[in-house]
Symmetry: C2
Subunit: 442 residues, 2 copies
């Protein structure tokens, strides 16, 4: 089996085109850049079976379409077309909508700079169409095209990097947050959401004993994700239920609502009443850890779980409204970079139709059994108390609950709400901008 | 460049293990099946640059893990493990939750049938663990593992097949539906949603002149998708806006909210007041058509638009709530089968940070310009009237609007709502089951 790997070779010819002298002016250079791309074919080792995403088209930059700018001692290159299109003046960029308003019907892809100058804080470019642009240097550097600058941007503002864990790590990574502090402090709110995004789990304590207490927490983020089970949901034993979560029996490890293409991102479970009986413990497992473990130790099963689409399914009636949800996705969904993007797992809500080839059925079941066993092995066990809101990433962790004895004097009741990652990352970024106050982000 | 293609060769040894005679009993056979897989390496033609998804693991079915069943003259095979896990009895399947409740901790992947029998409507299997299962034959056939049965299942109940169109086709495919009929007839509701899912566009007419009229239509599906712009939104000229759609100037072709990972699936735009001035026309373009066109005529640009992640972005304040949305995705997103899954396109809401290699910037801009030009070329132009609800697939079509003259006597006002495809496909399936009444679907 052959893979293509993408390698880039660049040579630079420096041509200083304009130098201004003055108190706040540094030297800068407009570089002529030639670049060539070549493909290196290599055979991966047997265990390396993940798909490597490649760009298969050979491009040569024209020799004159990049501007080199020295910013705080670093030489950075910016394509002309990118600079011109991202002009921040009021004609090109709408300040209150924070959006590009440049008319693409009159946009010249081959635009070139006529004059370039720089002072300590800004780069000024006059273009061959006569338009004048100015760029904040911190803003430019933050958008630099080097891998280092791009990685810094990603971790600073796109999404924090996830850290995986298993049952042994769990006591160290399981952070606890105070309900009132989250409502009253931006730092506490930021810290809670940051822990939740990095580890996929965080606990809120000291929540008032009220069915609406969870709303104030949700409002600090934005709003809930509504599903056919409602805007919020109550988890307690319901004999003639439309969902197995509403039974008191053992609730096997699962993700919620895998049959939603837009599967709820985060599950917030407010424990109002915890059963005094034995049982009712939570189990949580980080599937990013388990996926990595399988990739190393069971690569063929990992491949089956990442490649084989399964049909997730929920059919029923809730509050008089019928639903018939189907969604096809593997158990382990990878993104374009081969990183785990989403986990789907639910024995009750896996449909009976198998959309793949018959030959894969038995091996897939074996992989599925191993995935479940590993999640049980590496999962953490604990029991929430009344006043806790257990918050976890529903497209990363499996959660389950041991059976408990349900009686009139021994109930268990949770109020649940879902919030999507779109809203959580958005709130995290707003808080980061507010708390860290770094120049050049927006 | 090499591709792997997956080929399967099977040989069958038929062994009739049990034959019952009687009024409603047909012959059936338990087949011993051996299968081998082999990989054929072929070089694709130069224009074939799409990724071919392959299953890279070599599996051999055991010789005794498939059951052959003749159903209505067709010989179908079912893996034992699949049959046992999908037993429909009350111990294994919860009837009201319509969910599997079999305990996987005690599930034997190597389960085997001890006795098999069949009558005209059902297959009966007694397993080596003593458990007895019964399967409706229509239910089984609908879940058959042949490509033909799987395709039939997919089109019958998973999702209707999309049909692409361009500006010339538009008058033929642009279906019109009556507001009251949709509210009062399941057939009309089904027909509207079916057209919307196949063509990505459908018009509702004769809607009452009320800001809440759209709610009744949404309620027939389920509920709206809430975003940071609200549960519904009003589109009219707002001078100091947080979104360029609220301006009266030319609104370039775009998809709404590409910066949402969970991008709104369908856009419903109720035209309350249409401008009497020249301008304000809608433009709609089917990007599935344009993508296919680019794949054939501009394969390198197609590859750039499908492979290069772009950062979509919206930063602002709405109703006092700050938001900072970022989402990375190519313009043309493909699914695991190489089919277009989602389109992202918005010049104002494309962020300034480019997450890819600098060499791709200029070629990507050229591909982007061509994509826009082709959508303008193949897009359909028309003007909605007061009382229309324009409904379109927001992750498939681009939409835009010509500039109009906004004055006190010449306004234009729309009420908009988003609904996700999860809810639309769900409603379509419920209606299909109700209207077509086919046995074996659930």
């Amino acid at each position: 089996m052959n893979y293509n790997r993408y390698a880039r070779v660049q040579t630079h010819k420096v041509s200083v085109v304009r130098v201004r002298s003055g108190q706040h002016v540094n030297m800068f250079a407009l570089r002529l850049v030639t670049s060539a791309t070549k493909f290196a074919k290599t055979l991966p080792s047997a265990s390396c079976i993940k798909t490597i995403h490649t760009v298969n088209v050979l491009f040569k930059n024209k020799t004159d379409d990049l501007l080199s700018v020295d910013i705080r001692g670093e030489s950075l290159q910016f394509p002309y077309v990118w600079l011109r299109e991202n002009c921040q003046c009021e004609q090109c960029y709408h300040t209150s909508a924070k959006s590009r308003i440049l008319d693409w019907n009159n946009f010249d892809l081959n635009v070139k700079p006529k004059n370039v100058s720089k002072d300590q804080n800004a780069l000024q470019v006059t273009w061959n169409d006569g338009h004048a642009s100015q760029y904040n240097l911190n803003w430019l550097k933050f958008r630099g095209f080097t891998t280092e600058n791009q990685n810094k941007y990603t971790e600073t503002i796109y999404k924090p990097k996830k850290i995986t864990w298993n049952n042994e790590d769990f006591p160290k990574i399981f952070s606890k947050h105070d309900y009132n502090e989250i409502l009253n402090s931006d730092e506490a709110l930021y810290n809670w959401l940051y822990q939740l995004s990095v580890y996929g789990v965080a606990l809120i304590q000291n929540t008032p004993d009220s069915e609406t207490a969870i709303d104030a927490v949700v409002n600090k983020i934005g709003f809930t994700k509504r599903t056919h089970y409602g805007v919020k949901f109550v988890v307690r034993n319901v004999p003639n239920t439309s969902n197995v979560a509403y039974l008191s029996s053992n609730l096997q490890l699962h993700t919620d609502l895998p049959y939603y293409e837009y599967c709820p991102g985060v599950n917030l479970l407010h424990c109002l009443v915890q059963t005094a009986s034995k049982g009712g413990e939570n189990i949580l497992s980080d599937c990013h850890y388990v996926a990595q473990y399988m990739k190393v130790h069971h690569p063929e099963q990992y491949k089956l779980l990442t490649d084989t689409e399964i049909e997730w399914r929920d059919v029923g009636v809730e509050d008089g409204n019928e639903f018939f949800k189907l969604h096809r996705d593997p158990v382990i969904c990878l993104d374009r970079h081969g990183e785990v993007m989403r986990i789907n797992f639910s024995i009750p809500q896996r449909g009976s139709q198998f959309p793949g080839p018959i030959d894969l059925v038995k091996p897939w079941y074996e992989a599925h059994a191993n995935f479940l066993a590993l999640n049980q092995k590496f999962g953490a066990r604990f029991k929430t108390a009344a006043g806790d809101i257990l918050c976890f990433n529903n497209i990363r962790l499996l959660h389950g609950r041991n059976a408990y004895e349900d009686s009139e004097n021994n109930v268990r009741q949770l109020i649940g709400a879902y919030v999507d990652w779109d809203e959580i990352y958005s709130r995290l970024r707003c808080l980061k901008v507010k708390l860290k106050n770094e120049d050049g982000i927006c």
